[in-house]
Symmetry: D3
Subunit: 138 residues, 6 copies
Amino acid sequence: MLITRRVEFSASHCCAQASLSEAENRALYGEEANPRGHGHNYAVEVTLEGEPDAVTGMVYDLKQLKQVLNREVVEPMDHRFLNYEVPPFDRVVPTAENLAAEIWRRLEPHFAAGAARLRQVRVYESYEVFVDYMGATR
Amino acid sequence: MLITRRVEFSASHCCAQASLSEAENRALYGEEANPRGHGHNYAVEVTLEGEPDAVTGMVYDLKQLKQVLNREVVEPMDHRFLNYEVPPFDRVVPTAENLAAEIWRRLEPHFAAGAARLRQVRVYESYEVFVDYMGATR
Amino acid sequence: MLITRRVEFSASHCCAQASLSEAENRALYGEEANPRGHGHNYAVEVTLEGEPDAVTGMVYDLKQLKQVLNREVVEPMDHRFLNYEVPPFDRVVPTAENLAAEIWRRLEPHFAAGAARLRQVRVYESYEVFVDYMGATR
Amino acid sequence: MLITRRVEFSASHCCAQASLSEAENRALYGEEANPRGHGHNYAVEVTLEGEPDAVTGMVYDLKQLKQVLNREVVEPMDHRFLNYEVPPFDRVVPTAENLAAEIWRRLEPHFAAGAARLRQVRVYESYEVFVDYMGATR
Amino acid sequence: MLITRRVEFSASHCCAQASLSEAENRALYGEEANPRGHGHNYAVEVTLEGEPDAVTGMVYDLKQLKQVLNREVVEPMDHRFLNYEVPPFDRVVPTAENLAAEIWRRLEPHFAAGAARLRQVRVYESYEVFVDYMGATR
Amino acid sequence: MLITRRVEFSASHCCAQASLSEAENRALYGEEANPRGHGHNYAVEVTLEGEPDAVTGMVYDLKQLKQVLNREVVEPMDHRFLNYEVPPFDRVVPTAENLAAEIWRRLEPHFAAGAARLRQVRVYESYEVFVDYMGATR
C-alpha cells in the first residue's frame, strides 16, 4: 500500500555551473541559465510504502507527515532563491532531478525506523515537467 | 499495457474507533475524527493490465469497465455516509487506505477470469492525499 | 481591479427541510437529501475590489485576507457536518447558494470600512457545480 | 461575446520598496519581500470583446492573438527576474496587481483600432491567488 | 445569485467556409481548417441567474438543469463531427464563438418563463481558449 | 531517476474495423465507432529513465526532448484525423492503447544509444481515461 501527500512551494532557481561561462551555460540549459534566476510554483508528492495498521487503518499518520514535509521542504525552500539560500544548491545545480534527490535525502531519516518506508519523491517544476526519484539503490 | 479509468463520488466519513474515546480518536485522527463526519469529493482511478486485443486494439471494453465501476463503487458509495451506509465501514475505519482495499475487494472478481487483470486502485481523498493499492500479495 | 483568493475545506451536508418528509425531500433534492449527509471538498474564491495602493502596489494585504478567510470560513467549517455544527445551517438548508450567502455575511463586515470592498463569493461544490454571490443589493 | 486565451510563463519577483528597510518590507509583504526573489508559474488569461464576424465566425484571429501575447508577454517575461529584467518593475513593485496593469498597458494598443476590444487581463500568481484588471476607466 | 453547471463532450470540427478554397481557409483558420477535422474535449459551463427560493435554498433544480444540458448539448454533440452531424454547423462554421451562440439558442427557451434566467454560456475548446456568450441583447 | 515531459495535441479519431459492419463496430466500440470521427485534446506524458549527469544534474536535455516530441508526435498528429492522416492508423484502430504503442515505436530509436532510456508513454484521451505503455518486453 502506498500513501502520497502533496505540498507546494514557490521558489526561484538558476541552472548554471560556476565553472562555465554564461554562454556555455546558456547552451547547456537554455533559458533556465539566466543568472538572475526565474521561478516556479513547485509541487512535491512524497510517497510512503507500508501496510495499514490493523487498528487505525493508516499506513502513516498524515498529520505527522505534513509536519515533516513542512519542516524539511516547505519552510526552508518556500519563497527562496534555491542557489543562494538553500544548501547544497550553492554548489549543486538545482535541476528538478537534483531537487528531488535532495528532498529524498532530507526526508529519508524520518522514515528509517518506522513501519512505513520512503518510496518515491516526485517534483513537478510545472504541470509539463516532473521528476521521480526512488532512492540511490534502485 | 495498463489502462486506467477514473470515477468520482461525494461521500462523508468519520475516522474513529468505536472502542476508543472521542479524545483518543481525536489524538489519533485529528479533525478526521469528528463523529458527525465530514466529506470529500473522492476520485478513484482503477488500472487494468493486459495486452490490447489484436483485432479490437483494446485491453478491456471501457464501456463495460464503466458499468462495473458504477455498480460496485459509485452507486453504493455516492452521497453516502460511509460509516453508516456502506459495509464494512460500520466495522472498519474508512481511511483512504481501507477504502482502496475495499474497492479492490469489490472489483477483483470481475477481472479474475478475463485477459485483463486488476492492477491498481488509486483513491484520491483530495488532490493533496491519495493512496495506491495493488492487492494483498504484493 | 479585482483580487481573488481561494481557500478549500472538506465538509458534509444534507439538503433537506425539517418540515418535509424524507420522500418529499428526496423528490426535491435527490441524492443530496440523504439524512446521513454526504461530503465535498469545497473551494471558496473570495474577490475584493479596489485600487492598488500607489506605494505598495496591493489592493489588499493578502496575508491579512488569508487570516480572515481562515478564521471566518475554514476553521469553523472544515471537517464539519454543516447542518449540525455550523449555524445557521441547523435552520437553513446548506445548498451551495445558501453557503455562499452565509460566507458573504461573515466576510462583509471585514471589508466595510477599508479601501477594498467585498465583490463576490464563489463556492465550488465540485468542479462541475459552483455558485457566485455578489451581495443582496445587486 | 468574449474570447479568452491563456498563456503561461515562469518568472521570479521580489515585492519590496527600495525606499524601505528590509524589515519594513518584510512587515508589508511577508515572505514575498525576500530580496533574492522567488518564483511562480504565472498564467495570464487575456479577454477580448467583440462580435463574431458574420463570415469567419471569429471575434478575433486566435493565431494572431497568440503572436501578440508571445511577443508582448511571454518572450519578455519568461524565465526573467521581473524586478531586474522587465521594466517598469525596476521602479514599480511587481505585485500581481501591477503585473496585470502592465500587461494591459502593453496589449491595449494592439486592440485600439480593430473590431475587438481588450476587456480583461487576469493574472494567476498561483491557483490560489489571481487578479483581474479591466482598464483604468472602469 | 448565479449558479453554474459544467458538462463535457468530445467532438470534432473543421473551421472552413465552403465558398473558399482550401488555401484560403488555411490562411484564415490555420490548422483548424484541416477538412478531415480534428477534435476537442469540449467543456461547457452554463450559468443561470436568479434568487434562491426561500424554502428550498435553490436558484434552480440542478438535477433538472443536468437533464436539459444532456438533452440539448451532450447527447446531440458528443462523439459527433459537428460540421456533418449537428445543425446548423453544416452551414455555419463551428468556431467556439458560434458553438457558444448555438448552445445559448438551444437552452434559452428552457429558462424563458421560470424564476431563473440564462445568463452566460462558456465554451472551453481547451484549457487555453474559451468563449463567453451572454445573449444577443448585451 | 525518471523524468517526464507532457505534450498535448488535438485530433479526431474513429474506432472501427474496416472488416466489420457499422452495427458490429457500434456494438464493439459504442459511440467511439461513429465513422465521421470525434475528437479529443490528447495529452502525452513521456518518461525517460537514467542517472542525472554528475556535472549538469540532468537525466536528459529537456529542450532536446521537447524537440523530439514535437517532431515525432505533435507535428504529425495535431489537428489531424488519425485514421486518415497518420499512419498506421489507416490500418490499425487508433484506440488509446494503439496510439501509446505507436508513439513508443516513434520515440524509442531516439533513446536507444544514450544514457537515458525510454521508460513509459502515457496517453490521456481525457482526464477520465488513460493508457500506459512500457514497451513490448515488459
